[in-house]
């Protein structure tokens, strides 16, 4: 096998959220890793030169929450199609939810997903292990064996771990393996049967509501469990100001509490479900405008540790149903960066903050050698034209799943190239 030729990126605006660098420079990739960056780098013999023409060269994104159709729901999406969408979105590392069919509660299944990710050649897929057997919320899974097999952390995916006792045991036991529990923070008894955020809009549409308090109640409970176990809880797709206030206070108290949110919760509010628009049916449901604003504020002040795609592929048949029967969730890989950049263009976040939330901070949280332009690290890179305009069109997105809640949204800032371990995988 011949060695990969060197690649020299020139005329780039290098942004490394891990070090805070934002400067015009060149970057040299050798043997799939970042060898050097700075100004005045010479062109090594035989090197391929990529002229970035002033575009942003940044670490590939680390998406810490995405559901994949595989295994079990390949009609919605395969790992291969998800990888194509991820590459187009600048994502080079992705954490996959374990509530697939079958559930990833066995080391062999974790290894299977890892290998399927490797086979794409463009995307590292790090599966979560199930927090409980079968994601049933009753008995904790084999954290030690799953961790050895490569599970990145533990979660029941889209299911909340409802039993306080089970959650207590999971938080406690995960400490033995230096890992944490990712919770879907929604009290199931209050959310059962619900399709939209409880309030005037759901009342007018005659849709069963979910009170926003269902989120804060679960967050408050789990923070109390962290206090007694010394465990680490991570709250996924946090969407309400009340929950964020609890998380902010817990962090100030010094507890091991972290959280992420997803683009719909800082870009859309409940009015997106309009006349029963099922592509905007998500879990948790889209919230009111004041909650959207609270999410933006928590991104800016650092309370939120990461922005994840919260990708949930669906088939048109899953969505062409009366609203309450339609499946929840939206595709999010190709739009993760674009929607986040809208907050940069809107002045709520700096470019460095945005890329930290999308790459270096989730990588640090998960203990990964990713999300950085550090020398010696894998050359997982994205090239971004922050001003290039495009429009999200369901039906024309990369990958199989087209159920975007952002259908029709005009965006500014597009990925023009993606590299995985030095090899170009998009653009």
């Amino acid at each position: 096998m011949t060695a990969m030729p060197d690649t020299l990126f020139i005329n780039a605006r290098l942004i490394d959220p891990a070090s805070g660098m934002d400067a015009p420079a060149s970057l040299l990739v050798r043997n799939g890793t970042i060898a050097e960056h700075g100004t005045g780098l010479g062109v090594p013999e035989g090197a391929e030169v990529v002229d970035c023409a002033g575009a942003v060269l940044a670490p590939g994104l680390v998406d810490m929450r995405a559901a994949l159709g595989e295994p079990g729901a390949e009609y919605r999406e395969t790992i291969e199609s998800a990888a194509a969408a991820a590459a187009a979105g600048g994502i080079t590392t992705l954490c996959a939810l374990p509530d697939t069919q079958p559930v990833l509660d066995d080391p062999a299944l974790v290894q299977f997903v890892l290998r399927r990710g490797e086979a794409t050649g463009s995307l590292t897929i790090l599966p979560y292990g199930a927090a409980t057997k079968g994601c049933q919320g009753k008995e904790i899974a084999e954290f030690g064996l799953l961790r050895e097999a490569g599970a990145v952390a533990f979660s029941d995916g889209t299911h909340a771990i409802a039993s306080a006792r089970t959650m207590r045991l999971a938080l406690s036991y995960a400490r033995a393996f230096g890992s944490f529990i990712v919770q879907h923070p929604e009290e199931p008894a209050l959310a059962a049967g619900g399709a939209a955020t409880e309030g005037e809009l759901a009342t007018r549409l005659g849709l069963p509501g979910i009170t926003p308090a269902a989120e804060a109640i679960m967050v408050a409970r789990d923070i109390a469990l962290v206090r007694i176990t010394g465990g680490h809880v991570h709250f996924a797709h946090v969407s309400t100001g009340a929950a964020l206030a609890l998380i902010r206070a817990a962090k100030q108290e010094g507890l091991a509490v972290s959280c992420d949110t997803a683009p719909p919760y800082f870009d859309l509010n409940e009015t997106a479900i309009g006349d029963f628009r099922t592509y905007a049916k998500l879990s948790p449901p889209l919230r009111r405008e004041e909650d959207r604003q609270a999410v933006v504020a928590a991104l800016a002040d650092g309370t939120i540790d990461a922005i994840a795609s919260d990708h949930q592929p669906a088939d048109p048949d899953d969505k062409r149903l009366p609203f309450a029967l339609a499946s929840a969730g939206g595709t999010g890989l190709a739009t993760l960066l674009g929607i986040t950049l809208a907050r940069v263009h809107g002045g709520d976040l700096t470019m460095l903050q945005a890329l930290a939330l999308l790459a270096s901070r989730p990588a640090a949280l998960l203990g990964l050698e990713a999300g950085t332009l550090g020398r010696g690290k894998a050359a997982d890179l994205l090239l971004l034209d922050p001003e290039r305009a495009w429009k999200v069109e369901a039906g024309r997105l990369p990958g199989k799943a087209q159920n975007s809640p952002f259908d029709g949204r005009a965006l500014e800032g597009r990925v023009i190239g993606t590299w995985k371990a030095g090899r170009r995988v998009f653009g």
Binding site: E198, G199, E200, A202, T203, R204, L205, G206, L207, P208, G209, T211, D275, F276, D317, R320, L321, P322, F323, A324, L325, A326
Partner: protein, 314 residues
């Protein structure tokens, strides 16, 4: 009469008052025609009306059937059992079947909010929502309004108390939209567990004490309490509900002396309404509501068919 601005009748939310008034005026004329024993069998001649009911409802279906036949439409009833329609693709399969049949007017009843709206995106016919989930039931509110207007001479400035299970009631929602648009003072009355979130933001006053809610009301509109609501624990028992929220003569006494009593049917006697009140011909207009139902549905079919004719000419 103004040209009706919509192809379908899916909801009353957002329907402007002049169009509501037009529909009521036209319905009034059909009420007179029906009483005279005459018919207008040429109006919808050659038109196909399909009653597509995913939920059982003898009363509403019969009312639409009669309305269609009195206007000369070919009326077909399709009942689809809910069990076979849990898969939504069936709903859209049904739509393509209906298109192939060249259905002109489609009356839809469905247990899911928004189902008629979904169908309306896929069918060529004009869709009439005959009740969808807990969303709306526009023709019921129109017939209620017509009944009130005939009894009270007007709608403006009346105080209407809508009582009982407002949370699950599409009838209540449609009535709230229509009556508010027509400048009624609308109250909703019920236990907090049966009042939807932020009901006050729909422009109604909320009461949890029935006597306070009925005080000086011109119209008392009772809603049906379904047995499964009790099973869901939203109210502890039928007897407790009747004691505090059932309409009996004592509670009705605080309303205006000439207040009328309405119910969309079918009634649960002894749960939300006492038989003595339901059968009091001085106060109860429940029979007239059924009569006005046919007239209102004739007016709706007529109105939507005019748009069909216009689009056919284009």
């Amino acid at each position: 009469m103004l040209p009706f601005p919509h192809r379908h009748l899916l909801a009353l939310q957002g329907l402007e008052p002049p169009y509501i008034a037009d529909l009521l005026d036209l319905a009034e004329s059909y009420a007179l025609l029906n009483r005279s024993g005459k018919t207008q069998r040429d109006l919808l001649k050659g038109r196909t009306l399909i009653n597509l009911f995913f939920e059982d409802s003898t009363r509403t279906r019969t009312s639409f059937e009669l309305a269609g036949k009195r206007l000369g439409a070919d009326v077909i009833n399709m009942s689809v059992s809910t069990s076979s329609v849990n898969k939504g693709e069936t709903l859209l399969d049904t739509a393509s079947t209906l298109n192939a049949m060249h259905c002109d007017l489609l009356v839809v009843r469905h247990a899911q909010s928004g189902a008629p709206a979904l169908l309306s995106q896929k069918v060529d016919a004009a869709v009439i929502n005959a009740g969808d989930g807990t969303h709306e039931h526009p023709t019921q509110a129109l017939l209620d309004a017509l009944t009130i207007r005939r009894r009270k001479g007007q709608l403006e400035n009346l105080t209407v108390a809508i009582c009982g299970d407002v949370l699950h009631s599409r009838v209540a929602r449609s009535n709230i939209h229509l009556l508010s648009a027509m400048n009624c003072r609308v109250r909703v009355v019920g236990p907090p567990t049966l009042i939807p979130a932020e009901a006050g933001r729909m422009g109604v006053e909320v009461f949890h004490d029935m006597r306070a809610g009925l005080r000086d009301a011109d119209v008392v509109m009772m809603l049906r309490l379904q047995k499964e609501r009790m099973a869901g624990g939203l109210v502890p028992s039928a007897r407790e509900f009747f004691r505090f929220y059932g309409l009996d003569a004592a509670k009705l006494a605080v309303a205006k002396p000439d207040a009328i009593v309405m119910h969309p049917g079918p009634m649960n006697r002894g749960v939300e309404i006492d038989s003595a009140v339901a059968d009091d011909t001085e106060r109860s207009v429940i029979g007239e509501q059924v009569e006005m139902g046919v007239a209102v549905r004739m007016a709706v079919l007529d109105t939507l068919a005019r748009n069909l004719r216009r689009s056919a000419r284009l």
